[in-house]
């Protein structure tokens, strides 16, 4: 009589009845590609690091970022976050503030002094990285992690490239830049400054290098010919930004006209405001919609008092005035002159009409789109010489450069070892239609506090402030985990046949095919679309 209370008759369990035989479809757990990951130029697994951040495991989250990108604190300040543009949450309320969480994690790592150990055995191979900008430093970081001996040479006296000379300090404070670069140097990367390379072959021979990565950037300001008299100052944007980064305060006067519509134009216009200009005007030949500058930068510039003038070109400048011609867009969207002119007052004109690659190091390498041509493995036309960053035509942003550095490092590693590097296959995209919005609470995005406009135009203090832990956690928890199981137990709890087996935390679930009848409730009610019903073979 070893039976439970009130049970008198011994009977068999219905578990003898394997109802799995009824099934015509079976549920299968999938890991889809979340749109944030898909959009990230640096190839970060955003969904995965947010998953750790949600559980307050900030160190694991940071280490997840570091597998792809060595600059979380920099990214959290200068990245234009295409991840947020792609975020599915925008269809519910607002996109997740991925960038601000990344910045919180990056800053937390600097506060806590977290570092990444090099665990790979030494390969004995030596790689020369030319240029200590985002592409070069990212390549150096990944190559060091893979066990190679890396030397980074830069012509300047401080590392960082455009992150230092092109991005104003109100967007990227120099202490953050210095700390994230120092972390790479501490991994054993050799950094040689004031070491311009004039003869690449000689440098490779003398240093005994087995491979080269060129991250030389696009550092020459394009010129636009403007008929001008003698009494107007015409400067180029990169020189202005570089002087300011070097601690100087170039005299632009009170009335500054910036010519161009890219991010550099916005940076230099905002810098002019900080240098004391009272009247900064950006002149651009097309419309705001067609401006290459990112919307946030334009918005912040306008908040700071920068004025914008669309559909205008500069025809002549002299004697404190600039004559602009009005343009109109033709049916192809190209600006055409109208013959109507306006006079504007200006003490100086700053040209921000694009940048060119210094080709002196690229002799003998195939060119493409004003830069150097690389193949799918980031290798130039010369075996063993790879390139990335602004020197390779693509989108010229810090994040794209960091992505180039990573990709090149992995291919350099494969090339040095004589193996092929095969990036993992990209899974199907987790589109918004796969999500089950019912299960997500409404929660609007946390807006990062901004320095009050009136205060920030007079200083180079950082404009966008970081999140505190509470808000960062809140923001991380707004992630929908698109297409990737986050263990909400819906499938386990809602199966009418107890045919979902819950595994240990982190190990997710398993379908018990002995009993699963294939009703499909688990797939229909999965909040993040991580279950697909697949027809059974008959």
């Amino acid at each position: 009589m070893d039976r439970p209370f009130a049970i008198t008759l011994g009977v068999g369990s219905s578990r003898a009845n394997k109802t799995g035989a009824w099934r015509t479809e079976r549920p299968v757990y999938v890991d889809l590609l979340p749109p944030c990951n898909d959009a990230c130029p640096a190839g970060e697994n955003v969904q995965r690091w947010l998953y750790h951040a949600e559980a307050r495991d900030y160190e694991a989250a940071w280490r997840q970022i570091m597998t792809d990108n060595p600059f979380p604190a920099i990214m959290g300040r200068v990245c234009y976050h295409p991840c947020q543009t792609a975020c599915n949450r925008a269809t519910l309320d607002d996109a997740v503030g991925i960038n601000s969480v990344e910045r919180f994690l990056g800053d937390e790592a600097l506060r806590q002094g977290w570092t990444v150990p090099v665990t790979a055995p030494r390969s004995g191979r030596r790689v020369l990285v030319v240029g200590a900008g985002p592409a070069g430093l990212a390549a150096a970081y990944h190559l060091a992690l893979l066990g190679h001996e890396v030397t980074v040479r830069d012509a300047g006296d401080e590392p960082g490239g455009m992150m230092r000379h092109g991005i104003p300090s109100y967007r990227l404070p120099r202490d953050v830049l210095d700390l994230e670069i120092a972390r790479i140097v501490e991994m054993g990367v050799r950094l040689e400054l004031n070491a311009p390379i004039t003869d690449l072959d000689e440098a490779v021979r003398a240093g005994g290098f087995d491979a080269v990565f060129l991250g030389i950037g696009a550092q020459l300001s394009k010129r636009a010919y403007i008929p001008a008299g003698d009494s107007v100052r015409i400067l180029d944007a990169l020189s202005v930004l570089r002087e300011v980064a070097g601690g100087e305060r170039p005299d632009l006067g009170r009335r500054v006209v910036v010519y161009g519509g890219g991010n550099t134009a916005m940076d230099v216009a905002r810098t002019a405001q900080r240098l004391g200009a009272t009247d900064t005007l950006v002149v651009y030949r097309r419309t705001r919609e067609r401006m290459p500058a990112h919307a946030i930068e334009v918005d912040e510039a306008v908040e700071e008092g920068v004025r914008l003038r669309w559909l205008s070109t500069i025809a002549y400048a002299d004697g404190g005035t600039v004559r602009v011609e009005r343009m109109r867009l033709d049916e192809h969207g190209f600006p055409q002159p109208t013959g109507e002119f306006d006079e504007l007052a200006a003490d100086s004109v700053v040209l921000a009409v694009g940048q060119d690659v210094d080709r002196s190091l690229l002799d003998g390498l195939d060119a493409a789109d004003g830069g150097v041509r690389v193949d799918a493995t980031m290798m130039t036309s010369r075996p063993g010489v790879f390139a990335g960053g602004d020197a390779v035509a693509e989108e010229r942003t810090v994040t794209a450069a960091v992505g180039h550095g990573k990709r090149a490092a992995r291919h350099i590693d494969a090339w040095l070892r004589g193996t092929g590097y095969r990036p993992s296959a990209r899974p199907e995209l987790a589109v918004a239609d796969r999500l089950h919005p019912w299960y997500y609470s409404d929660a609007p995005a946390t807006v990062r506090p901004r320095l009050e406009a009136a205060r920030r135009v007079s200083t180079f203090d950082e404009v966008v402030q970081g999140l505190d832990e509470d808000t960062a956690l809140f923001e991380a928890r707004r992630c929908l985990s698109c297409g990737n199981c986050f263990e909400c137990d819906n499938c386990y709890g809602m199966c009418p046949d107890n045919a979902v087996i819950k595994l240990d935390p982190g190990a997710r679930y398993r379908i018990d095919l002995d009993y699963c009848k294939g009703c499909g409730i688990c797939a229909a009610e999965c909040p993040c679309g991580a279950i697909t019903m697949v027809p059974e073979q008959t």
């Binding site: 209370f5 137990d489 409730i521 909040p527």
Partner: protein, 332 residues
């Protein structure tokens, strides 16, 4: 800047479990050690709402009573699909007698336990809508008026599904069943018939009455838990969609239950001693039409020419529930 407290979890409190919630805020169903009162291998149809509802209720009651519990079952699907001799799907003390006498048998079990001085062991009676609102109703009313210490749970799938989808006293107007066919003069089940068992239970002024659905597990478990804290007669009426009888996809069981509450057709509330004490507000109000449209038992309302008049009558019932139980808040 004002800091916002972290209270919105990734999936709020709507999913079954959530690794970010404290253990005591997670559902019983999320736990690896739930009783699984109703185990695998039962013969319910794919996507059966009643199998799900029964496990939800009984696992929650098992936790609330620490496993000291006897269940008495009326005849119906729930009995038939779980206990074809010599097999049983029940992993609890479970007793079946007849179709109409489950509340009386439950009363008897409670009385016997009292005589034996084992009032620590609680009694749960259960049945479908046929066994509860029709055939067993006299016994149920008696159990209520004597205030016997039993929780009776009705799993309402709105018809006699076990015997082939015949109309019950809980079948809603305009639904097609085997005994309410669609004819030129009638659009399925007649308007003005049927009854609300929860409201009749309230009229007995018993300590606790509640309604729930399989679409809101947190709410359902909280109500079972509350019921088990109370002595005397208690009644919970759970809406459990039936893919077979309603003509829905097996994967849509939860969805259709959610639509029933979000349209206002099935009000979710609780009452103590004859008075409504709370109603679960509608989160995203929707018209009745999409709810009707995904069920084949209402297909005749949409075949041309659509019965706009009948749909409007059903909408009026939903609107009345919304008014009567205060189902709308500013958020919905």
């Amino acid at each position: 800047m004002t800091t916002q407290r972290v209270r919105f979890y990734q999936v709020g409190s709507f999913a079954v479990g959530n690794r970010l919630l404290e253990a005591d805020q997670r559902t019983v169903q999320a736990g690896e050690h739930r009783s699984n009162a109703l185990t695998s291998g039962h013969r319910a149809c794919q996507g059966c709402g009643e199998a799900l509802g029964a496990r939800y209720v009984l696992d929650a009651a098992m936790r609330a009573t620490g496993g000291r519990m006897v269940t008495v079952n009326a005849t119906g699907c729930l009995e038939v699909f779980t206990t074809p001799f010599p097999e049983t799907s029940w992993q609890i003390a479970w007793l079946h007698s007849l179709f109409g006498n489950a509340p009386a048998v439950a009363t008897g079990v409670a009385a016997a336990l009292k005589v034996k001085g084992r009032t620590d062991i609680r009694v749960v009676g259960q049945g479908g809508d046929g066994g509860t609102v029709d055939i067993g109703f006299g016994c149920l009313s008696g159990m209520f008026e004597r205030n016997d210490d039993v929780l009776f749970v009705c799993y309402d799938n709105e018809a006699y599904m076990n015997t082939g989808v015949q109309r019950s006293g809980a079948t809603p107007p305009a639904a097609r069943t085997a005994t309410t066919p669609v004819t030129r003069s009638s659009p399925g089940n007649a308007f003005g018939q049927g009854k609300s068992a929860p409201l009749i239970a309230m009229a007995h002024e018993i300590p606790y009455v509640a309604t729930a659905t399989v679409a809101d597990l947190h709410d359902l478990e909280a109500k079972v838990n509350r019921a088990m804290q109370i002595r005397g007669a208690r009644y919970i009426h759970v809406l459990v969609p039936c893919p077979l009888g309603w003509g829905t996809e097996s994967s849509e069981t939860i969805r259709v239950a959610r639509m029933a509450t979000e349209s206002g057709l099935f009000p979710v509330f609780e009452a103590e001693n004859g008075e409504v004490t709370s109603a679960t507000p509608i989160r995203r109000l929707m018209p009745v039409e999409p709810y009707l449209r995904i069920q084949k038992r209402y297909a005749h309302l949409f075949t041309p020419p659509p019965r706009v008049d009948v749909i409007a009558q059903i909408q009026a019932r939903a609107d009345r529930n919304i008014r009567r139980f205060g189902l709308l808040t500013e958020e919905s």
